[in-house]
């Protein structure tokens, strides 16, 4: 799937030329594609980054939450790093690894507006008193070339040193402690927290790890202020979010949507067909039924009653033409293979759960395998250095709930007749050395 930017409404005349974008898109630029990532074009569109001051309070007033998946309040993280600074100058790490196979928003954002992300890194670094900001990308990322070109353009123009580092492709290598570990020791594997990176991170220094979309928003808040930033979205969930729509849709790709937008509207814009279920938030997310999403809005407030969250903003439509259990089983297998092999509950638990789930797909007349999935899921939850077990378990359990009717079809072992259909959910074969 190649990410494309969904067509947006034409911008009213006179709103460009270094002013705050009116409406959406605001993170991604409107207008011609050519020459988009250049510094000159970037400055022409949004104007220069103003002299820093009071950014942390502005971010607090804006109510910006992290766009990497956890949705943590960004101002709280900024304050934690700033107050942990003491004698040691903090470091800023921009997380652009985007290990989530269902999301393309970070690589697209970096490819189109690398300077907006770099602006955010600079603004965050100045706000917490850091002298160094590192942008982490996945090995072989499509964003590497535009980011390198952008760094050449900015050489000697910023108050902090900017670097770009590639991280081995693996699901857990984008986890914040794994990034810090990679920068310190070359091993992109999660470590036990605490200490969190905000307390002791790169080189033992307090480290701010933020997703690149979060930092792009930071750069917009620094330029145009919190009240402009809140003009899009709802009071509880202000701002916009980049949403990767994939799966059974006519127009897969990226949309920048206001938080609070009805989910059917987002899916409708992408041309979604009849769905067996919708995965919200990527492989760390939650499966919902079409009935559940029919009245739901996209945002933390709108999804909380359904037990879901926007996560990294990936929306994946599973069409009615493929076997949801086979897809669930295949991805559970893949997630088990993404374990770093560090913690027992994950190394042993995830393959065991995936194995039992495969038996459920093949036929489980007495429900024994299903019982094992549920039992082991409860046992691995909350254990290990990172959240891989929790994410994998949430993926499997919410899927079993959403696809409960389909589960009955498989019970007697005759299957649904769609099990052998072409795989839909991506499971990239990374070289996990």
């Amino acid at each position: 799937m190649t990410p494309t930017i969904a067509p947006s409404r034409p911008r009213p005349p006179g709103s460009a030329r270094g002013g705050p974008p009116a409406g959406l898109p605001r993170l991604l630029p409107d207008g011609p594609v050519a020459d988009r990532p250049s510094l000159a074009r970037h400055l022409e569109r949004l104007g220069p980054l103003p002299a820093p001051g009071g950014l942390v309070d502005q971010v607090d007033q804006a109510g910006l939450r992290g766009r990497g998946g956890a949705g943590f309040p960004t101002a709280v993280k900024l304050r934690a790093v700033r107050s942990a600074a003491g004698r040691r100058r903090p470091v800023v790490v921009a997380n652009g690894t985007e290990s989530e196979p269902l999301s393309h928003k970070d690589v697209t954002l970096l490819g189109h507006v690398p300077h907006l992300v770099l602006d955010g890194m600079v603004a965050a670094a100045v706000a917490v008193g850091a002298g160094r900001a590192v942008l982490c990308l996945k090995e072989g990322s499509g964003a590497t070339a535009p980011v390198r070109r952008a760094l050449v353009e900015r050489s000697g123009l910023d108050p902090v040193d900017l670097e770009v580092v590639e991280v081995p492709a693996r699901y857990v290598s984008g986890e914040e402690s794994a990034l810090v570990n990679h920068l310190n020791t070359g091993r992109a594997l999660p470590t036990v927290t605490p200490p969190r990176p905000a307390q002791r991170g790169v080189g033992g220094r307090p480290t701010l790890v933020d997703n690149v979309e979060t930092l792009a928003n930071l750069a917009l808040i620094a330029r145009f202020g919190p009240s402009w930033w809140r003009s899009v979205g709802t009071t509880e969930d202000p701002g916009s979010m980049l949403v990767t729509v994939s799966g059974g849709v006519a127009h897969p790709g990226l949309q920048e949507v206001a938080l609070g937008t009805p989910l059917p509207e987002i899916l409708g814009r992408a041309g979604a067909g009849p769905a067996a279920g919708i995965l919200v938030g990527g492989y760390f997310g939650t499966w919902l039924t079409p009935a559940q999403i029919s009245g739901a809005t996209f945002g933390w407030t709108g999804l909380a009653p359904l037990g879901a969250a926007p996560g990294c903003g990936a929306l994946t439509v599973l069409p009615e033409t493929c076997c949801p259990l086979a897809e669930l089983s295949r991805v559970a297998d893949w997630l088990a293979g993404q374990s770093a092999g560090q913690c027992g509950a994950c190394t042993n638990g995830l393959p065991a759960i995936a194995g039992a789930l495969a038996r459920v797909v093949r036929g489980d007349p007495d429900g024994a395998a299903l019982g094992l999935v549920r039992r082991w899921a409860a046992m691995v939850r909350g254990r290990g250095a990172c959240k891989l077990p929790d994410g994998a378990v949430a993926f499997v359990l919410s899927g079993l709930e959403a696809f409960a009717p389909h589960l009955a079809v498989h019970r007697d072992g005759r299957g649904c007749g769609m099990t052998g259909h072409q795989a839909l959910l991506p499971t990239p074969q990374w070289r996990t050395s």
């Binding site: 000697g156 910023d158 900017l162 770009v164 580092v165 020791t185 091993r187």
Partner: protein, 200 residues
């Protein structure tokens, strides 16, 4: 105040719980060494060792709690609530009972750091945990010095515990063979692909 004001059952309970706590703490130390040595077999996974180590320790704490409470309640000991923490304040055999208080203080520190394991540095936790190697002999001497069963079965129980913990200590001191590292081999810290130096 004399013993007459406290029921005799309290004394029995104090002796019994102290002796059981000694056995359970000895087992905890043995299980801890089994865990550190990473010993396992096809029928005994390391999860079992870890779970038993924790649960036997918690059980030992329960018996220790009974032991301490009865020691305060039994007015013949003359310990008082402050004496539970501050050693050598008892009326009865202050030195021997005081050693028990010292051991109890170490147990409290080990328990606190283990319950707060995620909030304490690993080094701090390990240093405090090593305190059990001081706690156990002190507790044993307390049992032999303050206990009233040292010439009867209490002695045999103590000897059994000494054998168990002694064997564990010897095993602990035998150097480990190097375990092959199955995780990613260490690489040099990540090098940047590109940098943009600051204006200053």
């Amino acid at each position: 105040m004399t013993l007459a004001t406290t029921p005799l059952s309290v004394w029995y309970l104090m002796r019994g719980s102290g002796l059981v706590a000694l056995i359970l703490f000895s087992m905890t130390i043995g299980l801890g060494v089994v865990g550190v040595k990473r010993w396992q077999s096809s029928r005994w996974s390391r999860l079992v060792t870890a779970g038993l180590h924790r649960n036997v320790a918690l059980l030992a704490l329960c018996f220790l709690a009974i032991h301490v409470v009865t020691a305060v309640v039994d007015q013949f000991v003359g310990l008082g609530w402050l004496g539970v923490i501050v050693p050598f304040k008892s009326a009865y055999r202050p030195l021997w009972v005081g050693l028990g208080v010292v051991a109890f203080d170490i147990v409290l520190a080990v328990m606190a750091t283990s319950l707060l394991r995620r909030h304490v540095r690993f080094r701090t936790w390990r240093l405090v945990h090593w305190g059990t190697w001081v706690m156990w002999p002190v507790a044993l001497v307390h049992a032999l010095g303050a206990g009233t069963d040292r010439v009867s079965f209490g002695l045999f129980v103590s000897l059994g515990c000494v054998a168990l913990v002694g064997a564990a200590a010897v095993w602990r001191l035998i150097p480990d063979r190097a375990v092959p590292d199955r995780t990613t081999p260490p690489r040099p810290p990540a090098r940047p692909l590109a940098t943009a130096r600051s204006s200053s």
